[in-house]
Subunit: 537 residues, 2 copies
Amino acid sequence: MIAEAVQVVSPGPVPEGLLAAFDAYETALLTNDVATLDALFAPGPATVRGDGTTLLVGHAAIAGFRSGRAVIPTRQVAELHVRPVGDDAALVMASTVEPATGATGLQTQLWQRLAGDWKVTAAHVTLPRTQPATPSRAAAAALDRSVWRVVGTPLVAPTGSGPLDGVTVAVKDLFAVAGERLGAGNPAWLAEQEPQASTAPAVAALLAAGAEVTGLARTDEFAYSLAGQNAHYGTAPNPAVPGGIGGGSTSGPASAVALGQVLVGLGTDTAGSIRVPASYQGLVGIRTTHGAVPLDGVLPLAPSFDTVGWLAREVGPALRVAEVLLPGVSATPAAVAPPARTVVLPTVETHAIPAVAAACADRRAALVGEGLLPTAEIVDLAPEILEGWFAAFRTLQAFEAWAAHGDWITAHPGALGADVGGRFAAAADVTAAQADAARATIAEARAWLREVLAGAVLVVPSSAGGAPARDSSAAVVEAERAGTLRMTCLAGLAGAPAVSVPLLHTADGRPAGLCLVGAPGTDLDLLRLAATLEGAA
Amino acid sequence: MIAEAVQVVSPGPVPEGLLAAFDAYETALLTNDVATLDALFAPGPATVRGDGTTLLVGHAAIAGFRSGRAVIPTRQVAELHVRPVGDDAALVMASTVEPATGATGLQTQLWQRLAGDWKVTAAHVTLPRTQPATPSRAAAAALDRSVWRVVGTPLVAPTGSGPLDGVTVAVKDLFAVAGERLGAGNPAWLAEQEPQASTAPAVAALLAAGAEVTGLARTDEFAYSLAGQNAHYGTAPNPAVPGGIGGGSTSGPASAVALGQVLVGLGTDTAGSIRVPASYQGLVGIRTTHGAVPLDGVLPLAPSFDTVGWLAREVGPALRVAEVLLPGVSATPAAVAPPARTVVLPTVETHAIPAVAAACADRRAALVGEGLLPTAEIVDLAPEILEGWFAAFRTLQAFEAWAAHGDWITAHPGALGADVGGRFAAAADVTAAQADAARATIAEARAWLREVLAGAVLVVPSSAGGAPARDSSAAVVEAERAGTLRMTCLAGLAGAPAVSVPLLHTADGRPAGLCLVGAPGTDLDLLRLAATLEGAA
């Protein structure tokens, strides 16, 4: 009997039966005996239960709350104070302790004898929680290692002042930064690295324009994944989809931007490594025209497709960065005509999940209707042609990835996580002849796409769906990846810029991006168009 | 009238005068009208007030609590539920909202009419607190810049394997770490630094023994403060005293340890820079024998007193580090006899606040009584002698501090925060003759103290009081500092080791350290003694 185990403090005689009722309640609470708990609360609309966050009024509301609650941790009554009010009412205050944690709580109940039975007519509960000092004793990382490898305040200060004054940047751990090692998302690789002698020009240009580097952020291993699930450092959070993956391979910069820890995330995009995390996390992301931003000091994956890109929460900061990193383009904004056509490729969109495909079609039609996008033109593309292009893209990407990293991977068996390791293992089997055949196909694809993109903007989903759950099966992740790559490979094949704008949602509310693909060199035009669309969203 | 501004929900007629009494109470609460609040609570020992953390019993205890509380933030009653019990009693439950934050709370009061007046006989308070923040779009720093300058995962990997395998270390930003700049707590200084060519031997020894450096943590500017309030980077949190300063100058490592972000904080102690943050944050801290751990690669403050030291949550990790950094001592543990006497210096303890002085005396007597400390011996020390020693300590510290940093400070006017800047400005006026006179006094003090410490352990408070509030006046902080320095200077004068163990508390529950000072070379003995005391606490 709980009430007998502790001293009962009361200024007067405790009414008969009260302690037995209290005991019954406490026992039912610890065993989650909902029926007894419901019976011991007074029926009717006047019964009230509050905890500081929620005030429940009426027996039905309280019972409803209780039915959805988990079993509470075991606790003990430490002190029991009773304030009788006549023979048929008393206030009971019980302080409680959780033995496991030492956390203390308090519950105050007004008990009233109704039709002969003791019932709670009002309750105020402060659940046991740890003392102010106790949370401090809980281990907490100084840094989220799934997002960052190294962070400073800042890590690298600006070297100049200019349009990016005050801009904080998370740099994907694929860029050289003087004095820092280049981690590439793999601890075995990192362990062999020496500090870099100089800083990649793309990073140096940001620093010279006034930006500071907050830190080096995670990448999927050697950037060869779209998932953002690093086998060594964990899955970076996706604040827009709790429990969802964040996308990669620019995983750390994307999460850092989404978490509000930096204004800009700098990364790379070979097959979607900027656009996919932007899509999954509701961010703006740009993949630049192939060759427009120098890749010196950036670890290659597949040079035929590798580009620099960046992410931000809104178009504004992305545009400011573009004006610094793409000065040649920005010098002549007026010289580039706005696109005259909105290109629609239905064949590509069949690879999106239905909700995203429908959202893309609806949003695009609405934007055309509002005059924010030019007239739509549906362009036919035979499914087998798209498959051939995609196969060629994947073949050449694999061939070049193995050329870049095969020697190191061969010398370090077991150093890679299963997913990326498996992809590289397959890449090892691609022959030079296959790569040559792929290059021929890609040349055709590039010519066709550049013709279609001339004076036009292609509008497709940025990813096949929304962010898959972290605990999705490999098959689900692979299906999402396969669908997504059919969309993202187009910009890679064309060497074209692409901007993902968070304008779509899945049926259950996960964000997805609307991707604007333009002719090579139209990077700034795409961002300015994105700014217009963003404003209209 | 508060109760008229919201709907009053009650299953029956609200007793006359109750709402007026409630209104009066609420108004008094918001204006911190303590006299009215006290009058509205029922007199006598049976009145009770709880909040889940503390259950106060009796009017006197409640009034005492109230007198020490700050004004609560403005709040509004959102809902008011009344449960009458007859004509002379009612339960009132009021949910409250803080307009500034949107935080909600709940207060439940049992009102009873006693001798014609409504009085609260029991109260349960859940203070408004903010809801779990939406993580998605809230800006959050990747790093707490008041604690850290740079952090990695790790920042520096172990160079060997040994007794410190798995130990994470926050290194005070006063130690050279190869490839990293040395920040010294000042941004103007930092901006001029080049990466260090080599790592301080103390840090290198930890790395060789298997430890990893998590990051470089904040120091007060040039370590010339005990407060932990860096004018440029903010006040590091003290998880043991919410709203309290954390102490310094080893401020960042101490907070990182207290927050559970690292196992060990490495720092320096010239005049208490390890012992004071240990005391304020409830940590174990050791200042080593002067010269026992090399100071190469550590920015000096006052070389006559500078020592390496470290902090941990418990004695165990501190002892493991000591066995690595003090190998000569650890090789012959059995050769050092346990102390035969517990030295008490009442003159020194007059500089502690009464609660800490009393706690120290009580705890020491108890430990002697339990046989955990040897027989106590009270040693006289004339107050004017102590003042002379302290003045000499302060004089030589200032002279050496200016010798170390005066040129740089002179060349950088305005670069220092007001507190440390003022201290250096005063240091600039110390003459060589004054320093020589101080050295003579210090030699006398050292001889006397070493004689007293031979075969003995001096037991004093680690700080004059508990952590002052962050918003304390400069006078309060200075008074605490002045009292503390009278205690901490003794180990500095003697070149002796000192270990702070979190065994004391102020009257309001803030931790304070019990400091064990031993003869030079007894560092490990002190830690082993501390482990015994810790176990008995």
